[in-house]
Structure formats: structure tokens, C-alpha cells
């Protein structure tokens, strides 16, 4: 069993904070392609078109027959054939985290691979291999116990690859919506110590206010993503205490472009969702980055929840989809910046949320509870992109297969 994580002690002010180093970042294009799939939580290997053999590590051509390689999902079983403990390293990140256990795993898919080991697995064990992202956003194979073990998620090596909310302090940007409240409650249930819950208008009541603000672990804070000074003020106050930021702000309105579009709605949406995201990142990213390797309660992740239709546009919600597109684009750039500092940037993709602004949209719609579950899962798994529901999954799958076709389909 893993040593259960205990509530972190308060920090000794005389101890220098450990710098947030990341493992070596420079990788091949093939490795980057593997990272993109790892970010989705998939376990993939390259398989040869000609000889059908799987290969690892990533290559540009098949090492057996020089054939073309394609990424394919693989069975995740393996056996640990050898293990070793690294006690010395010149890499700045691993040097700070020694000893570090690795092993050689015979993958059920065929290849032998060097993998990081969970504390509950050792030589000879059957394991479940997960394709993870390391702190610099590169792919890494991690051997998990085949069956659940006590406190499995608390394994210190595993926590380097995840952003588990347990004992962490989270800022949820908009607690005035059902989504913000569901996310806050799910995070507390997943073990978060505190959820700072944003309220853009503390003088104005909102549905669910009495219940959510009376919940143990919730700390209401004034925060408006359209007001730069409110973000600066909150970051100045809490920047050093927030370990995870979850941006639940959304402004979705029905409307077209040439017909039935509303310029004020577009401007409001862009200001809240796009400029607001940049304001939020500028307020909190530096402080998160400075504490990305600060013990058990290090800063870990920046999560943004956006419509899947940012990938495609959507007839009837043109402006909202444009805001989501810009949001996804900003988030992709932020991901690149934060990978250099060890902070995971997570995108939770949703279908039309089941709220008052999507009354005219027929089901299926995305329930706030589904979004909350996706946020927690992505943090616990260390995923980069996650779909909250079947609508988002369907659009993403079609978009991955044929982006131009999906764009046409969604804009009919």
C-alpha cells in the first residue's frame, strides 16, 4: 500500500522554495504526437502498416521493416521484468526527487519499454500501463498496480504526473452558476482543502448562494474576469495559496453572424471568456509557476472549461463558438508556456450546457455535474483534454477524423 498523504504542514518561511524544474523537454515530432494522445488519456503505440508490429519508443519508421507507422490504441497490460532505483542524476528535476524507481516492462502489445513504477509494483508483477504526461508535457509510461491498492493515488511518483486536488486549494472563478457550484462541490468531495469561489457581483444574490456559501471548505471571494483590477487584487491576496485554478466562466448566447447576431453579446462573451482568460492567466500563472514543485501541496494545474464548438463553430451559437475558439487558442499557447514551469493546463470540453441559455437546444445537453466530474477526473489523471459528455466526445471524435467535414456538419 502507499503511504497515505497527510495534510501538508504550513510552510517554514525560512526554507527556500524548491524551483519548479521540469524533465528534459526536447523531443522528436513522433514523441510530441504521442504526447498529444497521452493528453487525451489514451494509451497508444505506433503500429506498422506493413508488418503490424507495435513499436516503442517512438520512431519515424518501423524498426523491423521500414514500414509506415500509425498511432493505435493498445491493450494496457504488462509485466515488470526488471526494476531499478535511481539514486543519482544530473537532471535538475530528478535530482530533487531521488530515489526514483523505474523498470523494464514487457507490454502485452509487444515491445519492451522503460516505465516509471508506482510504489506498489515491482519485478514480476502484472501491471496496468498508463500513458502519462510528465511535467514538461512529454509522454511517459507509468506502471500502475493491476488492481486498486490502498491510497494508490497518493504514491509520490504518481503525483508528479497528476494534479490530484487532494489537500490542494482551488480557485473556481465563477460560483454564481450551477456549473461553478457543481465543480466546487466535486473538488471538495475529491479532497480539496479549500475552494475559493469567485463571485463577480457580491451585492447581487444568485441561485444556490445560501447552500454553497455555507458549505465547509468554500471561501467566497470577489472576482470578476471582466475587471482586471479585481483579478490583480485577488492574485495579490491569494496568488501564493492557490494550487489549482478552474475557470468556469461562460457567456453563451444564441445568435448568428449576418442574421440574428447581437454585437453586444459577442463583445460581452469575448471580454469574459477570452480577455478574461488572459486576465486570469496573467494574474495567477506566475504564482502557480513559482510553486510547481513545492512539496505535497505544490501548485499543479490551470483548468479551463469551454464549448467543444470552439473547434468547429456552431450554427445558432456563432458568437459563443467564436469566443470558445479564441479561448481554446489562448489555452493552447498558455499550455506551451506553462509546460516550461511544470503546471498542467487542462481543457474541459463541453456540449451545450443544460442551463437557461440553452433552453432551445434539444437534449442531449451537458449537465453541470458531468462537467464537475470531468474536471476532477482530468486533475486526478493528469489529462490535458477531457470531454465532459457524449456531445463533446462525438464532436471531438468526428473533428479528429475529418475537421473540415465536422465544421460543415456543425454549421448547417
Amino acid at each position: 500500500m502507499s503511504e497515505p498523504l497527510t495534510p501538508p504542514k504550513r510552510k517554514d518561511p525560512l526554507v527556500v522554495t524548491r524551483a519548479g524544474h521540469v524533465p528534459p523537454a526536447l523531443r522528436s515530432r513522433a514523441a510530441t504526437a504521442m504526447a498529444a494522445r497521452a493528453g487525451l488519456g489514451r494509451f497508444v503505440l505506433q503500429v506498422c502498416d506493413d508488418c503490424a508490429r507495435a513499436t516503442y519508443p517512438q520512431r519515424d519508421r518501423c524498426p523491423f521493416c521500414w514500414g509506415e507507422l500509425r498511432w493505435q490504441d493498445q491493450p494496457d497490460g504488462a509485466v515488470i521484468e526488471a526494476e531499478t532505483t535511481i539514486r543519482s542524476s544530473i537532471d535538475l528535476f530528478f535530482k530533487d526527487h531521488l530515489p526514483w524507481r523505474v523498470g523494464s516492462a514487457r507490454l502485452d502489445a509487444g515491445p519492451m519499454a522503460t516505465v516509471h513504477l508506482h510504489g506498489d509494483v515491482g519485478q514480476g508483477d502484472r501491471v496496468k500501463i498508463e500513458l502519462k504526461l510528465d511535467r514538461s508535457g512529454n509522454p511517459a509510461l507509468f506502471a500502475m498496480p493491476e488492481k486498486e491498492t490502498p491510497h494508490m493515488a497518493d504514491d509520490p511518483q504518481l503525483r508528479v504526473f497528476t494534479a490530484d486536488p487532494k489537500y490542494r486549494r482551488v480557485l473556481v472563478t465563477d460560483g454564481r452558476t450551477a456549473t461553478g457550484q457543481a465543480v466546487a462541490e466535486a473538488l471538495l468531495k475529491a479532497g480539496a482543502k479549500t475552494v475559493f469561489l469567485g463571485n463577480a457581483d457580491p451585492l447581487m444574490r444568485y441561485p444556490g448562494q445560501d447552500r454553497i456559501e455555507a458549505t465547509a471548505g468554500i471561501e467566497p471571494v470577489r472576482l470578476s474576469l471582466t475587471d482586471t483590477r479585481s483579478i490583480e487584487a485577488l492574485a495579490g491576496q491569494l496568488g501564493g495559496r492557490v494550487d489549482i485554478v478552474v475557470n468556469t466562466a461562460q457567456f453563451s448566447r444564441q445568435g448568428g453572424v449576418g442574421f440574428g447576431g447581437n454585437l453586444n453579446d459577442l463583445q460581452s462573451g469575448l471580454d469574459l471568456e477570452v480577455t478574461g482568460l488572459m486576465r486570469l492567466a496573467q494574474g495567477f500563472a506566475p504564482a502557480l509557476s513559482g510553486r510547481s514543485d513545492d512539496g505535497d501541496r505544490s501548485a499543479a494545474a490551470f483548468v479551463d472549461i469551454a464549448s467543444i464548438h470552439g473547434l468547429t463553430g456552431r450554427a445558432g451559437f456563432a458568437g459563443s463558438s467564436a469566443a470558445a475558439a479564441a479561448r481554446l487558442s489562448l489555452l493552447a499557447s498558455l499550455r506551451g508556456e506553462m509546460a516550461r514551469t511544470g503546471i498542467r493546463v487542462i481543457s474541459v470540453l463541453t456540449g451545450p450546457v443544460d442551463d437557461g441559455w440553452h433552453q432551445n437546444v434539444p437534449p442531449p445537453k451537458t449537465a453541470p455535474a458531468q462537467i464537475a466530474r470531468a474536471v476532477v477526473t482530468a486533475l486526478q489523471q493528469g489529462q490535458e483534454t477531457i470531454c465532459a459528455d457524449e456531445v463533446a466526445k462525438d464532436v471531438l471524435t468526428r473533428w479528429q477524423d475529418d475537421p473540415l467535414l465536422t465544421i460543415r456538419e456543425e454549421n448547417k
Binding site: 451585492l203 444574490r205 482586471t228 483590477r229
Partner: protein, 263 residues
């Protein structure tokens, strides 16, 4: 007119015999704006983005870009703001003669009534009784409704938006008709977020202050402060809206000139 009037005023200002009272709330992101039902367009609050502050974007200068609605913060309503005033001449802030921006005020104190009842409705009968006590309201005056509502700024009780709508004092149609037609007022100046009562959309006719004032070419001033610092008669209000082309209103600095010893 004697050419010494302004010179006398200059002396009075310099000596404090005439004092300038600020009737304006500070424009800030926190200042509440009117909230309409969600299906309507919403009034944008005040926002400010720094362009530079003695930094790389402007080493020696500080300035901001600002944005807001024409009706954010302490603001002026032009006749074109309401459908009843849409066809009047000179009905937008750029077209109103500048002469109209300076006018005397009569202050009607309904602060006690408003404290007792947030839905206090000002009626013609109330005004006639008020005149019996204080004297007739002269023509060409702003009617300043002192409610002390400005003291609620920064609390939920300012907008006082409950589940059945907003609750704040204001006039009924009879009172506005009386002020507009029988007393020839310049307009209605209030401390609340609108010239109409919070519940005025349920009145018959609805929203009488907006409807009757603007339909007759009169103005509105909202979100004022410090009306309790003005005398009942004798103050002069200076309220110059921004000259926005075709604008329906404007945030502005409103001041009152009052006679008396320096505070």
C-alpha cells in the same frame, strides 16, 4: 443683466460664500448598474484597462482605456432615452442646448418616507401638501428627490433587487404630470439607479417618470449623492453630459452651487 454677476460669483467662489457640492458617485467597476430582465440587453458596468503607468508601455505617462454604458454611474438621461421622446427635436445629448445644463434645483425631501417604505410612491397630493408647507415649486427647476438612497451604495439594498423586482422610491404618473405640466420642471434628479420607482414597471401607466419626462423633452439625473447637503431652494445644478453624437445619455460629473459659509 449686470456684468458684475459673474465677477461677483467668482468672488463668492473664491471666498467660499458660494460652495460647490459634488453630487457624483465615483465611477468604479463595483458601482451597480440597472439590471433588466435577462432577455433584454444589459447595461455595461464601468471597466478600466491600464494603457500605461510609467512603464514600458508609456514610461512617463499614466492613462487608461475605459468602457461603460451611457447610463452607468451618475448619469444624465436625454429625451431620446425613452420611446416617448424619440421624435422630439434636440433630444440627444449632443443636440441639447448647453444653456439647459445649468439650472436651479428645488429639493423635495422624501428620505423619511423612503426609509419607512422602500416602495414609497411620490404623488401629486404629496407634492401639493409639500407646497403648502414650503412654497410653490418655481418653473425651470430641477426637481431633486432627496431619499438618502445614496447612503446604501455598496450594499445590496441600493438596487434592492428582490425576487419580485427592485424596491426603491419614485413618483407616480400624477406626480410627474404635475411637475412637467404644472411646474415646468427641467427634469427629475434622483439618488436611485433610475428616475422611476423600483416597482414602476407594474404601475399604470408603467415607468411614468421615464415616459412622461422624456416624452415632454425633460431630463433625468440618476445615481446622485449628497442631495441632503442642498438647501430646499437656491442651489444651482451644473450637469453637462458628454457630447456623444446621437447619445441617449451620459455619465457625467454633477455639481451644485450653494450659498453659505464655507464648510
Amino acid at each position: 443683466m449686470s456684468k458684475t454677476v459673474l465677477a461677483d460669483l467668482a468672488v463668492a467662489l473664491a471666498t467660499g460664500q458660494v460652495r460647490v457640492i459634488d453630487l457624483t458617485n465615483t465611477l468604479s467597476p463595483d458601482f451597480p448598474v440597472i439590471v433588466l430582465p435577462a432577455e433584454f440587453g444589459q447595461c455595461a458596468p464601468f471597466r478600466m484597462e491600464k494603457l500605461s503607468r510609467y512603464d514600458a508601455d508609456g514610461p512617463a505617462w499614466y492613462w487608461n482605456n475605459i468602457s461603460m454604458n451611457e447610463h452607468t454611474g451618475t448619469h444624465f438621461d436625454a429625451p431620446a432615452h425613452w420611446v416617448t421622446g424619440k421624435d422630439l427635436p434636440s433630444n440627444t445629448v449632443d443636440a441639447i442646448p448647453a444653456q439647459d445644463f445649468v439650472a436651479p434645483a428645488v429639493v423635495i425631501d422624501i428620505s423619511a418616507e423612503s426609509a419607512a417604505d422602500a416602495d414609497f410612491v411620490l404623488t401629486r397630493e404629496f407634492l401639493e401638501n409639500w407646497e403648502t408647507e414650503h412654497g410653490t415649486i418655481p418653473p425651470d427647476h430641477w426637481i431633486a428627490l432627496r431619499t438618502d438612497w445614496y447612503k446604501r451604495v455598496g450594499t445590496p439594498e441600493y438596487l434592492n433587487l428582490l425576487e419580485d423586482g427592485a424596491h426603491s422610491p419614485g413618483p407616480d404618473a400624477g406626480a410627474v404630470e404635475f411637475l412637467v405640466h404644472d411646474r415646468k420642471c427641467v427634469g427629475l434628479a434622483v439618488e436611485t439607479v433610475g428616475t422611476d420607482a423600483g416597482q414602476a414597471s407594474t404601475f399604470n401607466p408603467p415607468l411614468p417618470a421615464h415616459s412622461i419626462l422624456h416624452g415632454n423633452g425633460r431630463f433625468g439625473l440618476q445615481c446622485l449623492t449628497n442631495l441632503d447637503k442642498l438647501p430646499t431652494f437656491g442651489a444651482i445644478i451644473v450637469a453637462c453630459p458628454l457630447k456623444i453624437e446621437g447619445g441617449s445619455g451620459s455619465p457625467l460629473r454633477v455639481v451644485a452651487l450653494v450659498e453659505g459659509e464655507a464648510a
